[in-house]
């Protein structure tokens, strides 16, 4: 079959099972856009800024586990994708970005809208391609999807010169085995490693599991729960690990790290064994590395060999797929109990509950914590929540316990403000039957609010909850603690969000008191398309506990108990 390069791109997308792509047309990608007219099976979502396209592809990928696809033109179209690509890279999200490039003959001549996007994205992609021959295109497309989704997933960019999109060649889909001699992700543990890990687990008195994103990527939630239950090991979660274990499970202690539960951080610091599963000891998780969990042996299982011994020296490092390795460990795992240790952690949790702002008198102001907790209550804890970055993100992590994998989507590694709305749109395309809430702050929302138009045009049912405190709240919190309350550039003007939404034809509501929250959830559910709800919250709320950057993990700033101050 003689097809153009553009048609080959579409054929390959079809064969990868792609049903939706997020993009923005332009000169150098026009042949591919024209070819789309012959492939109505693949829905194209017109974004308002290419950053939205890469975030949507990312949100789609995180919600479904399938590869998300973004498409853009050369030059500025491609560079606008970069923030979303870097976000996906840091959080190991499988996306494929297709960009148009100027014709081969013009490459290197500073042609109109030319830009070396493969050069630019080398550090922020798992791999990228500049297609130089139309006959390679089908193979490259197939490799791109394979690399994106396997091993430690990540973004792959395919840059296609315009003349290659137009050129015709015989198209035969490469069905054979993909042969990438330099790409061999590890999968299993050796027998020695299994033995060493089991021995450490058998001898531990105060073990803690640290569960990360890798658990969900590997589909290992069941195995994790079995490990925890059989050996009675408390489980702590990373931010991206939320959902790896049902958070209401008695052995699940909660989130660790900078704004994690104090009980988790104390447990990690006092543990005699850490079992780190599909996580990477990010600085937001460890605090000061020199004093991090000083008395513990450490087992680290991660699919990326370069993560082993990167930040934390471990005793047993296993580069492998966490699900596969757990299935190797479980047969040899003995039943155990750690009643005293689990009891001690429970005491820390109770102490934390006493300090919880929800258990203290907050007066009449509406708190972000209350909004999140009530959203949790009124959505039955079953929604897919997609956050932006900042205080509301940490409040979500603290006050919206998730019971299922891949229901809390957030930019953890890169911390990309503006991620929330577009990623929520992408997630909804991937999971049309689930209730999707974008939970955003007034700052981050304004970075990508142009995607309101995308949501409206596609009539995609995303509920947008803006927690508006008229501040860049998290930065303000740092200024309060560490810069003597000099609020430089953090007070923030916002438009009237309700009127703004109405200008887009999106139903909207403003909430100023806690008793309106149930009504607001009802309001959101009444409408088909996107809905925006603005929660006007306390301006100077503080997210506790907090481990100051670089401080010891156990030295948290904590909210005083009632009457303590």
């Amino acid at each position: 079959m003689l097809l153009t390069g553009a048609e080959i791109v579409m054929e390959c997308l079809l064969r990868e099972g792609v049903d939706v792509i997020f993009g923005y047309p332009g000169g150098a990608i026009l042949p591919t856009y024209d070819a789309m007219t012959k492939y109505p099976q693949i829905r194209h979502v017109l974004v308002r800024h290419e950053q939205g396209a890469s975030h949507m592809a990312d949100g789609y990928a995180r919600a479904t586990g399938r590869v998300g696809v973004a498409i853009a033109t050369s030059g500025p179209g491609a560079t606008n994708l970069v923030t979303g690509i870097a976000t996906a890279m840091m959080d190991s999200s499988p996306i494929v970005c297709i960009t148009g490039q100027v014709p081969r003959g013009a490459i290197g001549s500073d042609a109109f809208q030319e830009c070396d996007i493969t050069g630019i994205t080398i550090p922020v992609t798992k791999h990228n391609y500049l297609v130089s021959d139309v006959r390679e295109l089908a193979y490259i497309m197939r490799e791109a999807f394979h690399i994106a989704r396997t091993g430690r997933p990540g973004p792959v960019l395919v840059d296609i010169p315009k003349d290659i999109q137009n050129e015709k060649t015989e198209f035969i889909y490469p069905e054979g085995e993909i042969r990438l001699p330099g790409y061999r992700p590890p999968s299993m543990a050796t027998d020695d490693q299994v033995k060493a890990a089991l021995e450490l687990i058998a001898n531990a008195k105060k073990p803690v599991i640290l569960a990360g994103h890798g658990i969900m990527m590997s589909g290992a939630s069941q195995a994790l729960q079995e490990l925890a239950e059989r050996a009675q090991i408390p489980v702590t979660l990373t931010l991206l690990g939320k959902g790896a274990m049902p958070e209401k499970h008695p052995l699940c202690v909660g989130m660790m790290g900078m704004h994690g539960a104090a009980a988790c951080n104390f447990a990690i610091q006092e543990a005699d064994l850490l079992i780190a599963l599909g996580m990477r000891f990010d600085d937001r998780v460890t605090g000061n590395l020199k004093t991090y969990s000083p008395n513990s042996k450490k087992i680290h299982i991660d699919i990326d060999p370069s993560e082993i011994n990167k930040n934390v020296r471990v005793d047993v490092g296993i580069a492998g797929d966490v699900g596969t390795v757990l299935s190797q460990l479980l047969p040899g795992l003995q039943s155990k109990t750690h009643a005293e240790w689990v009891g001690k952690i429970r005491d820390w949790q109770e102490d934390g509950d006493e300090r919880d702002i929800l258990n203290q008198d907050a007066g009449s102001t509406l708190l972000g914590a209350q909004v999140i907790n009530d959203l949790w209550k009124h959505t039955g804890g079953e929604a897919i929540t997609v956050t932006d970055v900042g205080q509301h993100q940490m409040l979500e992590a603290q006050y919206y316990p998730h019971q299922r994998p891949a229901t809390m989507l957030t930019s953890g590694g890169l911390g990309t403000m503006g991620f929330g709305l577009p990623a929520a749109i992408g997630a909804k395309f991937g999971k049309p039957d689930e209730e999707v809430w974008a939970i955003v702050g007034d700052g981050g929302f304004q970075m990508t609010l142009c995607e309101l138009a995308t949501a409206k045009q596609e009539n995609i049912k995303v509920n947008i909850a803006i927690l508006n405190n008229a501040f860049l709240g998290m930065v303000r919190q740092w200024q309060e603690f560490f810069y003597e309350e000099r609020y430089q550039a953090t007070p923030m003007f916002s438009p009237d969000f309700v009127k703004l939404a109405e200008a887009y034809g999106i139903p909207a509501m403003r909430v100023t008191s806690r008793d309106q929250i149930p009504e607001s959830v009802e309001f959101a559910r009444q409408h088909d398309g996107p809905v925006l709800i603005e929660y006007v919250i306390e301006k100077e709320e503080i997210v506790y506990p907090m481990v100051p950057a670089g401080a010891d993990l156990h030295n948290m700033l904590r909210r005083p108990k009632p009457g303590e101050e």
Binding site: P174, E175, G182, Y183, S306
Partner: protein
Amino acid sequence: MSNANKQTLSALVENKPGVLNRVANLLRRRNFNVDSLTVGRTHNPHISRMTIVVDTEKVSGRRIAANLFKLVNVIDVKLVSDEPYVSRDLALIKVRTDDVDSRNAVTLICDRYPARIVDIGTKVAIVEITAQEDIVEALINELSPIGILEMVRTGVVAMGRGVRILDAENYEPLVNVPTNGSGQYQVYGV
């Protein structure tokens, strides 16, 4: 051997455009301190081999190897300096030889090294040395007082001793052209 903080890695890479860029980019991005990086062809025309000498005061050579291994175009990596190995550095050194004393001194010094004078005139001579890095350094130190005018070095190349072989067994470079109608990968015709 040379400095204890230094480690030597060998990497087999696909001979494709941009691969050197990817490796260099990785080393810079991860803040690995590169002492020298050389790249050249091998007996397989589709594979190039890199020798990378890194200062490992801060990070272990093993971590650098793990990162290099992740690159799709890097077929294999070995930390050659982990076990006995041979390493060589080549230098061309242009020295002043504009009087009898300097000419004699250069000749005498070169006799004590695996070095030779490859070009000599009334004003300057070019000395060539191929040796282990520290021996090259020693020669440079001895020639310095005479007057080094210009110098170029290739950087270190290295190979493990004995039967340890870093080779891409059965590596068949692919040109992705389905010519036989089967849709299978085709082996590149040289």
